[in-house]
Symmetry: C2
Subunit: 122 residues, 2 copies
Amino acid sequence: MAPRDSNPSFMNGVPELLILTLLRSHEMYGYEIVQAIHDRTQQAIAIGEGVVYPVLHALEEQGALRSHRKTVAGRSRIYYSLTRPGARRLADLTANWTHITSAIQTLVTNYVIGGTHAQAIA
Amino acid sequence: MAPRDSNPSFMNGVPELLILTLLRSHEMYGYEIVQAIHDRTQQAIAIGEGVVYPVLHALEEQGALRSHRKTVAGRSRIYYSLTRPGARRLADLTANWTHITSAIQTLVTNYVIGGTHAQAIA
DNA sequence: TTGCCATACCTTGAACCACAAGGTATAGTC
DNA sequence: GACTATACCTTGTGGTTCAAGGTATGGCAA
């Protein structure tokens, strides 16, 4: 039921990380988050609604987010904001993300600078 | 049969990236790769044999790797090395990896430097 | 007024990847 | 003679993400 630990199932949880990150500065609603991720990453990353909404629900259920409805221009929106535990969770995820990606980056960019190392490719 | 593209299924393929990266400089065998990933990332990343071996088989089948048996000290090892297409594949994966992670990194580390932004956490 | 697009929410099914756990076999060590 | 390390491998399970669809309102254009 809970093989949560060990490896972070690798790079999983990126949507969660991005969503929490966006909510760090101010509250947002789901549809807005979907577009914000797309825009603020120069289209490098596109996370669909089918991913965002379930994550929002799960995070709220876990107490990491809090929500309230607001109607703007006849449109009903559900705004989400970080709770204290949510901020802690974001800090953990961010630290972990940085740790892992920098480890990978070090490996990947090691002595590839000028060489063609043709003997390895042969 | 082939919804391969769209998003890179996110951070998937990290094991593949790491394996190709290690094989960039010289040939290695599976068991060695498992430990090398563990060691060269300061234990930040641990990829099990259950992941490495299938990836090696798949990459060879796709023509990205080439293998040959060698017996060393009574131990039979299967050494893998990069082919030309494999090197191209590694270049693609690396570029993509860098692109995506830097986009995320930019979002994640934006104006978090000194502030507690307590108003967002409330 | 009818149709279409954008907004805004949501769920379902399938695909896929990585993992843990197991299984085989040999070499060296205690 | 048993245990650990080496070295290969496969299977089943589980968790994430995806694409595709489904509902409803507002605004705009034909």
